[in-house]
């Protein structure tokens, strides 16, 4: 298969988010900070949130990983900024995969959903809920 700009999997915007991740870094004194790792490969993603009056005022992510996990995290942070925390909790797998816009094989689905797991566990942790990230 030849490598072209319209590669069906490594699309230009995925590579762009991988090489130039949005909202990458740490927040000082975040209201929520949570990390998860992908046991398959040892990759780690963490997110810091500043929440004011129930709204995600700022979010940053950090960690290391493949193009899919990094692009997925970068895309997710763009969507989260300014979103009420209650709405953020409703973001589901289909939303994240839809945003990535590529066909993800079962072997790579954990990469794509790692940042969502960070969000869910982090957000529900702050709310003091027992709900699982699923």
């Amino acid at each position: 298969m030849s490598a072209t700009a319209d590669d069906q999997f490594y699309r230009e915007y995925i590579l762009d988010h991988y090489k130039n991740p949005r909202n990458y870094g740490r927040l000082e004194n975040p209201d929520i900070s949570h990390e998860e790792d992908n046991p398959l490969c040892g990759d780690v993603i963490g997110m810091d949130f500043r929440v004011t009056d129930g709204v995600i005022e700022d979010v940053k992510f950090h960690g290391r990983g493949c193009a899919i996990s990094q692009a997925s995290a970068s895309l997710l942070t763009e969507r989260l900024k300014g979103l009420p925390l209650e709405d953020a909790k409703k973001i589901n797998k289909a939303d994240v995969l839809g945003e990535l816009g590529i066909d993800i094989s079962p072997a790579r689905i954990k990469c794509a959903l790692l940042s969502l797991k960070v969000l869910k566990v982090g957000a529900y942790g702050l709310a003091g809920s027992d709900e699982d990230e699923e």
Partner: protein
């Protein structure tokens, strides 16, 4: 002395999977199986499928004979003194767990030292961590030098503290490092330690002579040496095995069972409770036959040629970092990373060219931490690997670099 060689094109004809067009570079993970192995298993299923050690009818006798024949083949393959020292397991992991439970729980006490290495596979770390936590024992890990070889000076220092157990891999699955096992076992034995060698990557590629090696336990898996999954071997020195209690208990491992108590079966069956993986053990016997016919020296020579070829081809690629020792001191494993490209992305791109490449921590997270990486890409070779598969890997790497440029 001239080493016997084999023709890889002829060998590949025994492996129908290559008709699919894949380049298979993940043999350290699991090997492919030749027709001789699947055929032996199929013959059992179709001609004498029955349970062993129990029935008086003909096909059950045939099944028992073929099942037990593997024991002698393996004994010969690893040069053990007796088939009583050959215990069937599901694989290396079960073999090590058997020792950790049956030997470890009896002999390891509070304050004892267990010596492992930083390049060990999780299966040779976690059972000992559980044992150490339960007993209040301490674990120390032998570190590696910048070439990915165990620091022998540090190992000797640890031996001065009289460890109860020393456990290490004959060959590293993640780096391919061939450890100086004979010297290490001798030093550990001289220090009074019981020694377990994880042969998962050793037996299939280097072979082993357990008597020359001098270890107390040696565990390996059938599925990494052309056999099926679900059948492996634990070798143990007879006097140690005799003194150990069973690991699993139930049917077939007993002599008599009364309501007052039970007497255990003789070796090796004392450690083989319940209905065994009969077809898989028969398949493992066929795998041993296959490797024996090729000759382990020829296997090693072939792998070395491929490894040297891969090492050179990958050395030429810009932005590629290889881990581990030079080809002369490594098994058929090349672990590497690419600047700016995650191993998983490389593996996905390689997969599109039907190149099967492993990406990840290779069940050696302490080593990955030591190397300061989360994951590496790993190409690993075996008797059927040919140079054009390495060329295809190089093509996939260049493809990945084009996409990620």
């Amino acid at each position: 002395m001239a080493i016997k060689t084999f023709d890889v094109t002829t060998v590949r004809k025994d492996f129908p999977i290559f008709e699919t067009g894949i380049a298979y570079l993940d043999s350290a993970n699991t090997s492919q199986r030749p027709r001789q192995v699947t055929g032996a298993m199929l013959e059992y299923f179709e001609k004498f499928n029955s349970n062993i050690h129990r029935a008086a009818y003909h096909i059950a006798e045939e099944a028992t004979v073929r099942y037990e024949a593997t024991r002698e083949k393996v004994r010969d393959f690893i040069n053990a003194s007796s088939t009583k020292e050959i215990i069937y397991t599901r694989g290396t992991t079960e073999g090590i767990n058997l020792v950790a439970y049956s030997w470890g729980r009896k002999h390891v006490k509070k304050g004892d030292l267990i010596v492992l290495t930083i390049i060990d596979h999780h299966s040779n770390i976690v059972p000992w961590q559980i044992l150490a936590a339960e007993k209040g024992a301490t674990i120390e890990y032998v570190d590696i030098d910048e070439r990915g070889e165990l620091r022998q000076d540090q190992f000797r220092k640890l031996l001065e503290r009289s460890p109860k157990l020393v456990a290490f891999g004959q060959v590293s699955n993640a780096l391919g490092t061939i450890n100086p096992a004979v010297e290490m076992v001798a030093a550990a034995k001289a220090a009074g330690a019981t020694v377990l060698v994880d042969g998962a990557q050793g037996a299939p590629h280097q072979g082993v002579d357990v008597r020359a090696l001098g270890c107390d336990f040696y565990a390996f898996s059938g599925h990494k040496m052309l056999g099926p999954t679900g059948a492996g071997i634990l070798y143990g020195r007879r006097e140690l095995l005799e003194a150990m209690d069973p690991f699993m208990s139930g049917g077939d491992m007993i002599k008599t069972v009364r309501v007052e108590g039970t007497t255990y079966h003789d070796l090796p069956w004392k450690f083989e409770a319940g209905t065994q993986a009969i077809a898989e053990v028969i398949g493992l016997g066929a795998a041993v036959d296959y490797l024996t016919a090729l000759g382990m020296d020829a296997v090693r020579a072939h792998e070395r040629e491929i490894t040297e070829y891969a090492y050179e081809a990958l050395s030429d690629i810009e932005g590629l970092t290889m881990y581990g020792p030079p080809p002369s001191r490594r098994s058929g494993v090349v672990s590497f990373s690419l600047a700016g490209i995650h191993p998983h992305d490389l593996a996905t791109i390689a997969d599109r060219d039907q190149v099967c490449l492993r990406a990840g921590h290779h069940c050696a997270m302490p080593l990955m931490t030591r190397l300061g990486v989360a994951a590496t890409a790993r190409a690993s070779f075996y008797v059927y690997t040919q140079k054009d598969e390495v060329d295809r890997l190089v093509g996939s790497i260049k493809e990945a670099q084009r996409i990620f440029k």
